[in-house]
Symmetry: C2
Subunit: 191 residues, 2 copies
DNA sequence: ACCCAAGTAGAACAAGCAGTCTACCATGGC
DNA sequence: GCCATGGTAGACTGCTTGTTCTACTTGGGT
């Protein structure tokens, strides 16, 4: 990837993530990155295309981090627990590479686009789906029955989502750790 | 409350909620409501003040609905279950008075404001805190030990939050019903 | 040494923004 | 009948937005 193009994506992501997409103008991105405006429009045909590029880039960064956590353990149960410790690290800014915690970039972005069929929202939806599948994969390692696996994986996903929102909106940065008692129960007991 | 002022708040809320705050201009609100721009600025000193008014109004509407669900049942356990059926109704647009489901107005709004100390975000935080307390109140009706009550109430709140986000971002409109198996377990079993 | 292509800076553009202003109109007390 | 008051419409301001344009610099191939 072109070095200027990547710089633009990184700069835009950082500004969009911490201030909201509609609050950040092209001029600010150009100024902050030091890249010429014409060059920006050479690489991206519009602001929307740049937004989509930041979503794709963030998806890459996030999934890389997410998968490395899940795959750092041998058993599915350990992976799920590691996930919540990982979230706790994220909320408390102990994860380099994900920027200062400002909630989920995909939830935040979806909130700024009214139309559920917009490209940006489709991209957010896709990302969430991917993450849910990764969780389900780990849960299926220790729960065989399909419907039980479904329920547990779903619960884990929703708790994770709730923790992210609670941490960012309420400032409840202990949210991930507060999930642990419940998570332990649902992954250790049979239905 | 002045009839024009209320109309402005209602119109602004409807537009902000379905399109995002930064995507809606003052002119659009004025046009849609049929109220003069001068009158708007007579009642609200700035757009931000109007935003704050919509948050307050939505908080009123939402809490009214929320409390009516929780208080419709005799026991705490029934109230918690009713809550998730209520959420399901909301996600599937069977609740008149909350507009077409577009996620949580407070989560959406918080996402548009970078500064966590902004008045808007404080208002969102306050709302979430209020809702969490209402849930905790019901949980304390059937769990006596303080720390157990805390954990269960927290889990319910996070599941609720996760369900709202999943329903709006992923379009997972069955999210509330999918919580039921887990909710049933944690409110019926002892620790 | 020359040329072409790609990238540079930043001025310029139309459109839209939040917010202000003037001029007008309706109503109610005297 | 007349004035005062408070709400009305909507033109206007100054600024910012996303996007385009012109003019210039740079580096590599021949």
């Amino acid at each position: 990837m072109n070095v200027k193009k990547l710089l633009l994506i990184k700069t835009a992501l950082q500004l969009f993530y911490s201030n909201g997409i509609n609050s950040v103008g092209i001029n600010e991105i150009v100024k902050e990155s030091g890249v010429a405006k014409k060059t920006l429009y050479h690489h991206f045909s519009s602001k929307e295309q740049l937004v989509l590029a930041t979503l794709k880039y963030r998806d890459h960064l996030f999934c890389q981090w997410f998968e490395s956590i899940l795959n750092s353990k041998k058993t599915g149960k350990e992976s799920i627990l590691a996930l919540f410790y990982g979230l706790d690290n994220w909320f408390n800014n102990r994860v380099a590479g994900l920027d200062e915690f400002k909630g989920c970039y995909f939830i935040n972005t979806a909130a700024e686009y009214g139309d559920p069929n917009s490209l940006a929202r489709r991209s957010c939806k896709e990302h969430k789906h991917k993450i849910s599948l990764l969780i389900k994969e780990k849960v299926s390692m220790f729960i065989n029955k399909t419907d039980e696996c479904e329920v547990v994986a779903n619960t884990i996903s929703l708790l994770k989502e709730g923790a992210i929102v609670s941490a960012s909106v309420e400032g409840n940065i202990d949210a991930a750790l507060k999930c642990l008692p419940t998570v332990l129960r649902i992954i250790n007991e049979d239905y």
